[in-house]
Amino acid sequence: MKPFKEQNYYEVLEISPDAVPLEIRRAFKRSFTLYQDDSLASYSFFSEEERQDILSRIEQAYLTLINPEARTAYDQSLIAAGLLDEEKTFRDKTKGPIAIYDFQKTRMDGPVPSKRSGELKSRAEHSGMIRDLLTRDTLSGSDLQKIRTALEVPLEAIAEKTNIRIDILRAIETENMELFPPRVYLKGFLRSYIRCLALDERVVADAYLKKLGIP
């Protein structure tokens, strides 16, 4: 075995060159405790100066290996000196976190999934008919339907996205008040519907309710 002073950082911490950060941290804690002043196992073995030397070397080893950039640089220096095989160095094989919201939670049958709101907004701005409708004080169900058709958002897509039954959405567009849900729900459903079209939900909902005479 090599004298302590000539050992490389991996040997100092007694870990393999492909150790993961958790192992490095554990090894550091283990060695650091072993060479402490109050450690029973190393009692009287070292002079105070030797102990300090060893502790600072252990700390230096830890700080180098735990820092990915410093570690890579150190590995490179070992490889250049022929002391380490590049194959054996640590490579971060861990996967990044999985973004669960990237998943489509429901399967879409229709060819058009919900359109991005930015795209919808720009389309609404470029359509003279929509702009014209939106300036009105009141909006009927058929107006909403016109806007929706102009934006090319199928009713099924809205039903999928909002989990509102399609016959209720249809009833909103046809102003079939018999099928309307209770008032509190109606307002919520209406807003969800309008949100899917990327319109100002408060203004549009108010205009629609005003037309139907619902306060």
Partner: protein, 312 residues
């Protein structure tokens, strides 16, 4: 049982009261029970009491008979014990000055031990790091250290192992001037000479690579064992492994931890009754630990072999 090579295990530990004699006695007991012809030699000259542990309170012959030429060979001082296969050479001296063997006398004993033919010879060493103790310890490459998990005891383990280290350097440097080497090393690094024999070795390798390499080889051939005795429940279980690690890492000597032996108040009872602890309390944790240590010490292939010996 036929064996060609005698295994010699010196058992030391620096500090007194760590259980060297108890460990030696128990190990001898286990080996003899397994059918090995085992000889225990008490070389704790001046404070011998292994005879009490093995149940021979008044040994008719002792090492001093050999040293004072009352008997011709060391073999003639061997005393049998109540246990078959277990033999014993007492260190109890009637001559008051025997604690300090002269060089000639020591060499005579060492040569005598080498001539003995047994399966295992265990040497129970005294406390301290006198040259005599160290030379007996270095009679074989497989010395066993016994320590307790206390700073005082561990301190002495390190002191003993360093003494062994220095003694080895001395041996290799017989024709050389050890003092000159030490001075040179001290000149280069004023603070570390005593506590760091490694440095001495380093300096030596530079001054005389041939001798340095020889010494490296000699030191590398040691295969020490460490038994941690009197471990209480609240003590850390891995102290032994850590001590071995430090020795391997900083002295480059091989040292193997062979096990922890639990503390048991009943050891005191057994000693007071002058009966083997393993006979009196065979089913205690301590007895279990001792057996485990013994198993660790035996070479793998033999550990399971002499079952026929257990029967008698």
């Amino acid at each position: 049982m036929e064996r060609s090579v005698t295994q010699i295990w010196p058992i030391g530990g620096g500090k007194g009261g760590t259980g060297k004699s108890f460990f030696t006695g128990s190990l001898g007991f286990l080996l003899a029970k397994q059918g090995y012809r085992t000889l225990l030699i008490d070389v704790d000259l001046g404070a011998a009491n292994l005879h009490t542990i093995v149940g021979v309170p008044n040994p008719p012959r002792s090492l001093s008979d050999f040293i004072n030429k009352r008997v011709a060979t060391l073999d003639d001082t061997v005393v049998s014990t109540p246990l078959p296969n277990l033999f014993f050479i007492s260190g109890a001296m009637n001559n008051l000055d025997m604690a300090n063997l002269g060089h000639e006398q020591k060499m005579k004993v060492l040569k005598g031990v080498a001539k003995l033919s047994y399966d295992y010879i265990l040497l129970d060493l005294g406390a301290g790091t006198a040259f005599n103790t160290i030379d007996f310890f270095m009679i074989s490459k497989t010395g066993i250290f016994v320590t307790t998990p206390e700073p005082t005891s561990i301190e002495n383990i390190y002191r003993l192992i360093r003494s062994v280290y220095f003694r080895k350097i001395h041996h290799v440097l017989k024709t050389y001037d050890f003092k000159a080497l030490a001075d040179e090393a001290e000149r280069r690094n004023p603070r570390a000479v005593v506590s760091n024999p490694d440095l001495l070795l380093h300096v030596m390798s530079e001054l005389d690579p041939e001798k340095g390499a020889l010494l490296q080889r000699e030191l590398g051939s040691f295969h020490f064992k460490l038994a941690l005795n009197q471990l209480r429940k609240q003590d850390s279980q891995d102290i032994g492994a850590l001590i071995c690690k430090i020795i391997e890492k900083h002295l480059a000597l091989r040292m193997q931890h062979i096990g922890n032996i639990s503390f048991d108040d009943r050891v005191h009872n057994a000693v007071c009754k002058r009966m083997p602890f393993l006979d009196l309390y065979p089913y205690t944790q301590t007895a279990l630990d001792l057996r485990e240590c013994c198993r660790c010490l035996l070479p793998e292939k033999e550990a399971h072999l002499p079952l026929q010996g257990v029967a008698d």
